[in-house]
């Protein structure tokens, strides 16, 4: 499994309207809705097919490559909502 690629999910909660399209079309069931907003429940299963990103009508989700070690345990509870999600890529 050394060639497995890992991805992280940049989610703009302010843009998300909870239409469920990304959750329904994720082939690996990575995403879930939580309080009407999308949330990456199983980010390690992501294969980076971009079906969620391309089909999202609200430009709310983005899939980026990441190192395997980088972000274990990072869920929405430890995310600082004051910082816009794009700021981490700047």
């Amino acid at each position: 499994m050394s060639d497995k690629k890992f991805y992280r999910h940049l989610i703009r909660e302010r843009y998300c309207k909870g239409c469920n399209i990304c959750v329904a079309y994720c082939p690996k069931k990575v995403l879930e809705l939580k309080d009407g907003k999308v949330f990456a429940a199983r980010p390690d299963d992501c294969i980076g097919c971009l079906m969620c990103e391309l089909r999202c009508p609200d430009f709310a989700i983005e899939v980026k490559p990441r190192d395997a070690a980088a972000s274990d345990g990072a869920d929405e509870r430890v995310v600082d909502l004051q910082v816009p999600p794009e700021a981490h890529d700047a």
């Binding site: 089909r55 009508p57 983005e62």
Partner: protein
């Protein structure tokens, strides 16, 4: 999308389209196509009419025109003739393009003017609460067709082809990678290009016809389309009654602006500077 988000007026987001509306997906596809082609943002003009789909230009950071209902192509034609160096893209809806602006559409296609038209077809007038449009399939329900639509619908691709458009394609908000490719092709075509993008309207089309949520509507769109390339190999009963998606027509014809400049080259004044200068033509020496 971080890169492509720079094409948006981010202070206007999130947009006001309903949850699950396909127009956002199609707008995203257009932006990705523009990004892939690496076009200059300052050389693109977006023109739209009135309707849900026409709100797209308000969210995009290009030079944009939001015009009268159905007249997007009329404004775009004037713009293109005045400034042939600009890339003009028209974003319009099915009612805007085929009902109110139907005449503008066929004549823009007939002239083969270098405009890329994206028709976001959600089969209904979404903004005014779900009246049936010329693209509502026969038998489907709408606010103004409570017993089922008794009119036949347009096949926009055939209409555009017959009227003389040089690039005609149909995509959907379900087949997004294909839609991006089609938009890329359309943007590169010199002449009138039409991309009909099937979109879902869960609020009116879905609810009136009991299709269900946005996901069910995407499945409905998937079920009523078949790839044009695959259709050639499929038995006819599998293609019967379905819409073909993909590139449907491509031809090479003289473009209107070129032809117009050629025709008027003899009688044009040769302006040397803005204050007047030398006039090349005796006829116009007023």
């Amino acid at each position: 999308m971080s890169e492509t988000l720079s094409y948006f007026r981010q202070d206007r987001l999130p947009h006001i389209w309903c949850p699950g509306c396909g127009h956002g997906t199609i707008t995203g596809a257009l932006v990705r196509a523009i990004d892939r082609l690496g076009l200059d943002k300052n050389k693109i003009m977006l023109v739209s009419g009135i309707g849900c789909s026409s709100r797209a230009v308000g969210y995009l950071d290009f030079d944009t025109l939001h015009t009268a209902h159905g007249r997007a192509l009329a404004f775009a034609t004037g713009l293109k003739v005045a400034r042939p160096d600009l890339k003009v893209i028209v974003m319009t809806g099915d009612g805007d393009c085929t009902a109110i602006g139907g005449n503008h559409f066929i004549h823009a296609a007939r002239r083969n003017i270098d405009i890329t038209t994206i028709v976001m077809n959600n089969n209904i007038y979404g903004m005014t609460s779900g009246q049936y449009s010329p693209m509502t399939p026969k038998g489907m329900l709408a606010t103004t067709a409570p017993y089922g639509n008794s009119e036949r619908d347009f096949d926009l691709a055939e209409l555009a082809k017959a009227a003389g458009a040089t690039y005609v394609a149909r995509g959907t908000s379900f087949h997004v990678p294909m839609l991006i490719e089609l938009l890329e092709q359309a943007l590169q075509n010199k002449g009138f290009s039409v991309v009909e993008a099937l979109s879902q309207c869960p609020t009116y089309m879905g609810r009136k016809n009991k299709i269900g949520s946005a996901v069910d509507m995407l499945e409905w769109i998937k079920g009523r389309t078949v790839n044009a390339k695959a259709a050639a190999a499929l038995p006819p009963e599998k293609v019967q009654g379905k819409l073909l998606i993909g590139e449907l027509h491509k031809s090479s014809q003289p473009e209107y602006c070129d032809e117009y400049l050629k025709a008027t080259a003899k009688v044009r004044r040769a302006w040397k500077n803005i204050d007047g200068g030398l006039r090349g033509c005796e006829q116009n020496s007023d």
